[in-house]
């Protein structure tokens, strides 16, 4: 009942696509596709709406239980009705605001760093068909402050008790099942919950502005690193940073050759280098993040002797 299940619809489809190959490359791709499959799935919700009649058969029984007398089933955002391949997925580096109407496609950092046409997402009023963008959209979870829920409320909902092992906390699956007996069975198991958002403060050396990042939205160190890079990257700073590969990975927070190191303050108040512990454990213990200049980071403790860049674990593999 781990992450795999939580995203099982998309995960299921994606794994079909990538077969059952156990190779690390495929697994990594699957991780990426599962992660962003969620994203694509959410955004595809609208497309799915249009094609609903055609594709009800493929909906994996999601909405069968909900059939009402004369009403269409609820929007089945989550069913990924296409086989996702790498080219479908938005490159995380290219999260610039698209012209398409689905404003949810802008990452939090892009929203804040926009210097032109902040909205850029106006839709043509006369067009009746909704948001079928040419390229897949990142989900609304990437938009700052949307949906408008107090982060405090969500941080504490499904909060963890000290008894929980890391595996069953942030990344544990919510009981998702169309059938009731499944959930009854789940009752006996360890309390599970899904933390919906977990904001921690982030500060970068040399930048006066502190920000917040939602750890629960990210599922790996790479995703977090990319988010942070986007958040803190400013147009005038690119000249100072190593040349970017594949877009915005200029800060290369997870790369030991980078100028910056990502550190976190744990529950005991110690500052640690990010990347040594399994992701779930990290989310549990991290109270704050700090992007340090490498020159300051030499004295940091590390929880193990491992190379921090060696954290590209298959999604779900470390849990």
């Amino acid at each position: 009942m781990l992450e795999g299940n939580r995203r099982r619809y998309c995960g299921g489809v994606a794994s079909l696509a990538s077969g059952s190959s156990a190779s690390k490359a495929t697994a990594a791709e699957r991780d990426l596709s599962v992660e962003d499959g969620v994203a694509a799935g959410v955004a595809d919700g609208e497309e799915v709406e249009n094609d609903r009649d055609d594709e009800e058969g493929l909906e994996l029984g999601l909405t069968l239980g909900a059939a009402r007398k004369s009403s269409p089933p609820p929007v089945p955002w989550g069913s990924c009705l296409r086989i996702l391949t790498a080219k479908d997925l938005p490159s995380l580096a290219s999260l610039a605001p698209p012209r398409s109407p689905s404003a949810s496609s802008v990452s939090s950092s892009s929203v804040t760093n926009l210097s032109s046409g902040g909205t850029g997402m106006k839709r043509a009023a006369e067009s009746a068909s909704p948001h079928v963008g040419g390229s897949p959209q990142p989900p609304s979870q990437m938009v700052v402050g949307w949906p408008p829920i107090r982060t405090f409320r969500m941080n504490n909902f499904f909060n963890q008790s000290k008894d929980n092992t890391p595996e069953t906390t942030t990344v544990a699956s919510k009981k998702i099942s169309a059938s009731k007996d499944q959930s009854q069975k789940d009752q006996g198991s360890r309390r599970m919950g899904m933390r919906s958002s977990m904001f921690v403060k982030v500060k970068m050396d040399g930048d006066p502005i502190g920000r917040k990042v939602d750890l629960a939205v990210h599922h790996s160190y790479e995703a977090l690193a990319v988010s942070l890079e986007l958040m803190f990257q400013k147009p005038m700073m690119t000249t100072n940073l190593p040349a970017a590969l594949d877009g915005a990975k200029a800060l290369k927070l997870m790369d030991i050759s980078s100028e910056f190191a990502l550190t976190y303050e744990d529950k005991d108040g110690d500052w640690m280098l990010v990347g040594d512990v399994p992701w779930g454990m990290f989310v549990e213990t991290a109270k704050r993040l700090r992007i340090m200049k490498i020159s300051d980071a030499t004295g940091l403790s590390r929880s193990t002797g491992r190379n921090p860049s060696c954290v590209l674990k298959p999604y779900g593999g470390s849990m």
Partner: protein, 580 residues
Amino acid sequence: MDRAFSWVAAFPDEVWEHTFSFLPTDADRNAVALVCRSWHRIERLSRRKIFVGNCYAVEPAAAVRRFPEVRAATIKGKPHFADFNLTITDWGGGAGRWIQSMAKGWPLLEELRLKRMVVSDDCLEIAARSFKNFRVLSLASCEGFSTAGLASVAANCRNLKALDLHENEVEENCINWISHFPESFTSLVTLNIACLDGEMNVSILERLISRCPNLKTLRLNHVTPLEKLVGLLHRAPQLVDLGIGMLIGEGHPGLFSKLESAFAHLKHLKNLSGIWEAGPLYLPAIYSICEGLTALHLCDSSIQTPELSKVVSRCKNLQQLWAMDLIEDDGLIAVASSCKLLRELRIFPSDPHGLAQPVYLTQYGLLAVSSGCVMLESVLYFCRQMTNSALLAIANNCPNLTCFRLCIIEPYTPDYITQEPLDAGFGAIVELCKDLRRLSISGLLTDRVFKTIGASANRLEMLSVAFAGDTDAGLHYILSGCKKLRKLEIRDCPFGDKALLDNADKLEAMRSLWMSSCSVTLGACRLLAKKMPRLNVEVIDENGGGSLESWPDDCHVEKLYIYRTIAGPRTDAPPFVLTV
């Protein structure tokens, strides 16, 4: 005294003072103060309660000087959208200057309520030591303090009746701050510590509760174990408002019956809140109190609708229901048929980022409640789909709505049946609900909806808009209509300069305007600031501050906060908040 107002002398001041005490709102008192100098004097000397909706609208010292006899103050700081991380950290809203002025000028202050402010431990210490008659401390959505600050409140406020901490970010550095309440301390009526994350020494808490016979409200935090909770409940059978923190079923034998009997003892319970993680098997433990409940705020992760429906159908006197969308349409149908006295419904999303299976909560749930609960006044509803016809029906069913906040989670979602914008639906809401004071709109919306809102929402005081509209006309409709508008917050809409400049006077009649990710340029802000000296036009420059003068007029403004003030530009703004 003026000849024209000689009748004022017909009664001694005390009579006028007594008369004014019946005026229900501050606005009435403000009006009274304008009549003549005597009334102004009498009113200001007799004002006991003050409400400052924007802490930067007035200088603390000036407020304290004008109303020297205040006993209760409510002050709000950051704009509402700060709740959703739209402002930057360190934006402001510090309570320090207010506390210092109040400590000097209002030593007899009894009640202090702060919302969305940054309150330091020093502030708490100063307050605790300066206000000898301190009775009520309420901090909502605040930050900047720790449990050490709470310890000094506990230690120094001998007559404290209420300590109400609502959703604050509190640093936990003093584990046993509760033990700082002296043994002689017995006056507590309200204790809300639900937002505290750390462990609490339950036996100290138990002793505190035992010696406070007037305790009516107790909201615990999430780390109280079940058996301890049972013990606490037995000590406080007089409770009216209980927050269970997080109830976890640990499978101990006999625990259910202990829980059941503990609840059964709470014969006066009216409010129940908390996070129910114990599962449906423990839920019947609360059946005995359901009939008496007027408010239920239950977040749950593990209860399916049938069990939840059994609970709500026993809550025949429920007036306020806050629940997660896990209650689903079926649960709301049960609410509609059982909770006929319902006034307020809030449904929160359990899965706001769409990571899990969607729940079956649609427009039908809200529609059912609107038709079954005729007293419904206030709605907050997160869902994923909506139709114009449902909104029209809701408006017809509940013309007495005063607060309607609908959040369709995915931006730009149209009427999912007709694919049209939701203009007609929201239009119906504002046209039929004549008393509507607060509105939040979402989904696919064109300028048409704003035209209707501007024309019909005559009592509207607060409007929240996101991802809506086509052109500047939308904003213009709002600002030129909506006679009573006080707070307007907008994000990600194509609204720009012209509407702002054309309606500059309106901005001074409002408390504040927040616009982010719209199409406003710096030039317009400059013009506006020049034209309206009593407005603070603040621009948040996320690119690290720097001198505003150097930026060109056509530079896009990402975040704009405009508010009226008599205090001039604020002096505590961080470097990236620039007053134009």
